[in-house]
Symmetry: C2
DNA sequence: GCGGATATATACAATTTAGTATATACGTAT
DNA sequence: ATACGTATATACTAAATTGTATATATCCGC
C-alpha cells in the first residue's frame, strides 16, 4: 500500500535537494517515482504537505543516525562532544550527501510566517537543543553558549560544503570546535 | 535613463531576499518598480541576467561597506581582525538586513553547473580570500586555516539569523572568533 | 511647430504550474 | 463468475511563468 508513498517521499527528497524545492514540479516527482499525480494527491494533501513531510523525515533520519552513532561509539558523556564532529564529517563526506535540508528550505521560503520556514526554524532549534544537552552532559561551563557556537560551526561548514563540494570546511570546523570545547571545559572556574 | 534600471535592480534585490528568487516573478518586479516588462527586458537579457546582476551588486556593496569600515576605524592590521565581527554584527542587526544573498541563492540553485550557483560560489570564495588577507596581515600562524574558520563562523551565524531573526547568533560567533583569533596569534611558535 | 528616433504600454504566445474530474483497470469477497 | 470498492491513468482547468510583437506616447534637433 504505502510503498508508493515511501517512493514518492524518497524521490521528492532527492529532487528537492538536487534541483531545489520550487524548481521541482509535482509532475517531475511523479514521473521519476513512476506514478501519477492522482496517487500523489491521494497520499499528500498538497505540495506543501509533501515538502513538510520530506523535511520531517529527513530531520528524523539525521538525528536518529547521529544520536545512535554517538551512543554506540562512546562511553563517557564527555567523549560524545569530542566525537560529534567526526560523525558530522562522516555524514558530509558521504557520497550521497546533498546538504542539510532545513537550511536550504529556509532559504527558499524566507518568510518567517511560511509553514516550511517555520518547520525549518523548529528543526534548527531542536538540533541546537540536542547540542545543549550534549554540552551539559559533557560538563561545559556554559552549555547554551557552547552549543550555539557548535551549531554555528556545523551549519556554517555544511553551508560551505553545499556551495562547493569538497571544500573541506568540516575539517576546519572540527579544529575550531576542538579549541572551543577545550576552552569551555578547561576554564570551569574562570569568569 | 538608467534610473529605472537602478530601481529594477533595487526592487528585485528586495523581493528576492524577502520572498525568494524563484518565487518572485518578473511581473511582480516590474509592478513594484512601477514599470513594465518591456523596460526590464530592455535592460536585462533575461531573468537569470537580472539575478546575476543583483547578486553582483549586493556583493560589491557589502564588501565595499565592510572594507571601508575596517580601513576607517582601525590603524594597525591586527586590529582589523578583531573589529571584523563588530561590523558583521552591525550589518546583521541593521533593521534592513535580509540575509546574505549568495547563501540563499546557492540554496535555490543547488546545481553546481548553474550560473547563479557558480557566481554564489565565486563570491563565497572571494569573501574567504578577503579574510585570508586580513588574517595574514594580522600575523596569524596559519592564515588560510583561520580565515576558513572565521568564514564558517560568519556564514553560520548569518544562516542562523536568516532562519530566525534576533537569534543573537552573531554575538556567540564573535566570542568564538575571539578565542580562535587569540589561539592563532598566541601560538606562533607552536606546531 | 514638425519629423524621426526612442522609450513605454498593451496585448499576446507558449509553457509550466498545482490541483481535479472522469474514466478504467484490478483485486477481493461472496 | 460476478459485483463492488479501490487504485491508477487520462484528460482537463485555471492561473502563473518567461519572453515578445505590436501599438502608442514622449522627447529631441531643426
Amino acid at each position: 500500500m504505502s510503498v508508493l508513498r515511501e517512493k514518492i517521499l524518497h524521490v521528492a527528497s532527492d529532487l528537492f535537494q538536487t534541483r531545489g524545492i520550487n524548481s521541482t514540479g509535482v509532475d517531475t516527482i511523479v514521473a521519476v517515482a513512476g506514478t501519477t499525480k492522482m496517487t500523489l494527491y491521494k497520499y499528500f494533501r498538497s505540495k506543501e504537505d509533501l515538502i513538510l513531510e520530506v523535511l520531517q523525515k529527513g530531520h528524523a533520519d539525521f538525528t536518529t543516525w547521529l544520536s545512535n552513532n554517538l551512543n554506540k561509539n562512546t562511553k563517557k558523556p564527555s567523549e560524545r562532544l569530542q566525537k560529534l564532529f567526526d560523525f558530522i564529517e562522516e555524514w558530509v563526506t558521504a557520497p550521497d550527501f546533498r546538504g542539510m535540508a532545513f537550511l536550504k528550505a529556509s532559504a527558499e521560503f524566507p518568510n518567517e510566517e511560511n509553514p516550511v520556514h517555520r518547520l525549518s526554524a523548529e528543526q534548527s532549534r531542536q538540533f541546537r537543543q540536542f547540542l545543549v544537552e550534549l554540552a551539559a552532559d559533557a560538563g561545559a561551563r556554559d552549555p547554551d553558549s557552547l552549543a550555539l557556537q557548535l551549531s554555528i560551526l556545523i551549519e556554517g561548514a555544511i553551508q560551505a560544503e553545499q556551495i562547493k563540494r569538497g571544500s573541506g570546511a568540516v575539517k576546519y570546523a572540527k579544529k575550531a570546535a576542538k579549541i572551543l570545547i577545550e576552552n569551555s571545559l578547561e576554564t570551569q572556574a574562570a569568569a
